[in-house]
């Protein structure tokens, strides 16, 4: 083909992390090609798909499924894309479209706690990060300013910051206010830090409370990867959608020289570049590396020490549903507004998992309807019970920490997708450490229900953990190449010009959603690449960061 498929940077994956990295590189004057396996989507089409969906509570249902770029689908039945090797199921959800999975998310944008990054030194479990919280602070700030993060520094002393939140906290829904008032002083209920507009920001309107953050905000009041792609393209990034990268090619000096991709008709293309960034999420990124075998790297690119895909982490959840003794009517305002943050750190972390307690504000109407239909409740009683539950039902869940364990991992299965590419396989377990946190949370669940005058308490069963789709750890950064995939700047230990950006590089999971940290670490990686390429001696690099470095 005649067109020139070559650029200074080749970014694989157009999710929020890849697209914002591409945006930064293009703004710095570099040429960037961004390859995305899935198709373009529009907010309007997704919104129409949602309202026309026969499974509105299945948040994946509005998103198009592309046979050439498959993703896991579980409803109405499991499509078997993510092969489960056990012992515990890991039904990860993600979306392969331009803009990636943050098209639907609760827009939680937490910073890690500084102690989350020093788990081994402080508590003797997990690992320490190869960089410090203070070093990341300016990059966190930059990410927050682009994404429009709203929050109150006063409510969130647990993650110190040198500059204020870009936006004021989002207005508290009535139901959350009642929780806050009735749980104090035992439990401080605070507003979540979220990439959701509390006023016009970035040309996007303030939240209007449609309670549809997932699967799709109808007005773009929350930041998402689609907006990051818009910014990247406006900055000059060349996006190629429907480009399924299946192999990275290296030269004799182990430098990556090309990415090979299939179009939907399995026509192959070769994209060359000077620097490669893999940003295709915590499952697809390791899958690509494992696929890219050569004589010199028989186990795949960046995998000379068999570390790629290991240390898979997420945030399992247990929960309690109860009926409050007053009408709070969940479903007014954003879906996930408030939590309790006091159990996210403490000496107990040597023994069992820390956790955040998260209150939902998702309307109970759909779930109650499903339940009443299942129970065969007809006649006037249906309306009565629906209104009762819609008004009073509340839910609190844990967001539990998972430790990085090498045996929890992504590998290649022997199944192949429509293009003949091996599908990913997951090995996952929930260990005693995480289960310990879940057990510990039960007494708080009970007490919270009690303070709300709760009746009809429904705990999730002891062995039932819901997944939160915060796929991290599979490309961990670290100083020791024997236990990590990339260095502190996200550079592959094995390849000088290959970098990883995304949740996969996060070495610990902490107790908070992983996107903001991944974007921030991505900016730290980009800053490092640009400084290095501009010839700034590596000793000066810390200048852009606030801390002294390790």
């Amino acid at each position: 083909m005649a067109e020139n498929l070559s650029a200074d940077f080749v970014v694989i994956g157009s999710g929020i992390c890849g697209a914002l990295a591409a945006y930064k590189l293009a703004r710095a004057g570099a040429s960037v090609i961004m390859l995305e396996a899935g198709p373009r989507v529009t907010r309007a089409q997704l919104l129409a798909n949602f309202r026309n969906s026969p499974r509105r509570s299945d948040w994946m249902s509005p998103y198009p499924f592309s046979p050439w770029a498959p993703h896991p689908v579980y409803k109405p039945k499991d499509n078997g894309y993510l092969v489960q090797a056990g012992p515990y199921p890991y039904p990860a959800e993600y979306i392969r479209v331009v803009g990636g999975t943050t098209w639907h998310w609760a827009a939680h944008t937490w910073r890690y706690l500084p102690n989350d990054m020093r788990m081994q030194s402080l508590y003797g479990v997990g690992v320490d990060w190869p960089c410090t919280y203070d070093e990341l602070d300016p990059f966190y700030q930059e990410a927050e300013e682009i994404m429009g993060v709203a929050g109150s520094a006063e409510e969130h002393p647990e993650s110190p910051r040198s500059k204020p939140f870009p936006l004021e906290p989002v207005a508290e829904p009535w139901a959350m206010r009642r929780l806050r008032e009735r749980l104090q002083p035992e439990y401080p209920v605070v507003g979540n830090t979220v990439a959701r507009n509390s006023r016009t920001f970035g040309g996007r309107p303030a939240c209007c409370g449609s309670n549809n953050c997932q699967p799709i905000c109808p007005v773009d009041a929350q930041y998402h990867g689609g907006l990051a792609v818009d910014a990247a393209e406006a900055a000059g990034v060349r996006l190629i959608p429907n480009a399924v990268v299946y192999r990275l090619e290296h030269d004799e000096r182990d430098r990556i020289v090309a990415a090979h991709y299939f179009d939907p008709d399995k026509q192959s293309y070769r994209v060359t570049g000077k620097t490669f960034i893999v940003a295709a999420n915590g499952i697809e990124s390791p899958k690509l590396l494992l696929l890219s075998t050569s004589e010199r790297f028989p186990n795949g690119i960046a995998n000379s020490r068999d570390m790629v895909g290991r240390h898979l982490m997420d945030h399992p959840s247990t929960s309690l549903t109860f009926d409050a003794d007053e009408e709070v009517w969940l479903g007014r305002g954003p879906q996930s507004p408030s939590s309790i943050n006091t159990l996210r750190d403490g000496p107990f972390r040597a023994e069992f998992s820390a956790y955040r307690l998260d209150f939902t504000n998702i309307s109970r109407v759909d779930s109650t309807t499903q339940r009443l239909l299942l129970d065969g409740v007809y006649g006037p009683e249906f309306e009565k019970r629906l209104r009762y539950s819609a008004a009073r039902e509340m839910n609190v869940k844990t967001v539990l920490e998972v430790l990085p364990r090498p045996e929890n991992r992504i590998t290649l299965s022997d199944r192949k997708d429509a293009l003949g590419i091996p599908q990913p396989q997951v090995h996952y377990a929930i260990d005693a450490y995480t289960r310990g946190g879940a057990q510990d949370a039960k007494k708080h669940f009970t007490r919270i229900a009690e303070l709300m005058g709760g009746t009809n308490l429904r705990f999730t069963p002891d062995d039932a953990f819901a997944n939160n789709q915060h796929i991290c750890g599979t490309l961990s950064m670290g100083n020791d190449p024997n236990t990590s995939v990339c260095d502190r700047y996200g550079r592959a230990h094995d390849h000088e010009n290959l970098f990883f950006i995304g949740t996969g590089v996060l070495p610990t999971a902490g107790t908070c959603n992983s996107t903001l940290a991944a974007v921030a670490v991505g900016f730290w990686t980009v800053a490092h690449i640009l400084e290095e390429q501009a010839g700034v001696p590596s000793g000066k690099r810390a200048a852009t960061g606030a801390g002294a470095g390790t």
Partner: protein
Amino acid sequence: MGWIQAVKRCVGGLMVLGLAWGGAGVVGAAPADPELIQRGEYLARVGDCVACHTAPGGPVFAGGLELPTPVGNIVATNITPSKTAGIGNYTLEQFDAAVRRGIRADGKPLYPAMPYPSYAKVTDEDIEAMYAYFMNAVEPVETRPPQTKLPFPFNIRYSMKLWNALFLDETPFQPDPSQGEEWNRGAYLVQGLTHCSTCHSPRNFLMAEDSSRDLAGGEVGPWHAPNITSDPVSGVGSWSLEEIVAYMKQGSIPKSQAAGPMAEAIDHSFQYMTDADLRAMAVYLKSVPPIAEDGVKKPVDSWGRAHADFASVRGKPWPENPDELNGPQLFDAYCAACHQASGQGTFDRQMPALYQNTATGRLQTNNLVMVILEGIHRVSQGYEVRMPGFAHELSDQQIATLSNYLMQAYGNPDGQTSAEQVANLRQGGPVSSSNLILLARAGMVVGLLVVLALVVWLVRRRRS
């Protein structure tokens, strides 16, 4: 941008004037009475000087905003009290001549992009107050915007004298003794500083305002400035005084929301006016001789009702070609989230109903199309209104389909929109959005063009 944010910063305190404008700089002239200065500041707001004399994001009153006209750009001047770049050397008399008669300090005429035909009505006392304000309380900015350079013969500013002789009435406002004080105050404001007629009056073939059809509606670039005479069907005769005041103050009442140039006028000017002044304007407007428009069957705010066409949408797949989306589908995907499924607006009416709303009641659909293209962004009375624009998301055909559906479902079904109309408005949109009122004033320059053509024709005829 910068100015919007500046407005936002100071809307919190009603009439806390001067905060955003720097205030402190006292330049040259003798210290003036603080009350006089404050009054002058208020009057400068009423006259909306900032709208033209501040470039987007630029320093306040430092000029630089460019007005595109058919014969070249007219650049708004620096009116800060800088002695080198602004009007710091102007005497009161020179200031007066510029504001009320369109004559610069060097004696040359201003282009009538400056609404001096309206400002001519301002009283001596108010001119003095504004002078005191500009000289004493405006921060001098030492940058001079580029000079206006029009090609021959328009660069001969004296040619404006002819236009002035034809159309400028230099008499200041004369109170009507048969009317009350409130009416007279309203007439003074409407005819003078607020220069309503600049947009709301139709223009004659020389692009001067048609005084026989005062306030009967005009065109502002791609926007239509509606009839605001007292006609109960075509104008605002059926509006209560309270509704008119609330509209000017907040830019939004259930049956009408300001957009485009009117939103700018409210953001920059009207929202800062006292309730008494707004009420006086409303009293006067309701007395302006009614002018009925042809073809208007009932008041623009009286059309339509709640309506939803779910049968055309639910369970129906989208067509392959997005231009073939039907009206209900476009409404579902782009409008209904805010305006609600039946177009009824939200519980709190902050997102307005689409029926019984002036937005869908007019035969002329330009404003509806412009709002779909550009959205609305307004900061009034401490809260912000933003309707996103869809210029980048919707095609001309889609907007035409949507607009026709909205008019049919919620408004005046006689108001039609074509894809060609959308295409034209789309092209006029981005240029105009920086400052729409200014564009209206450009009409006067077109008038000048016609006058000159006439003169040339006359001279040639005599010679021959």
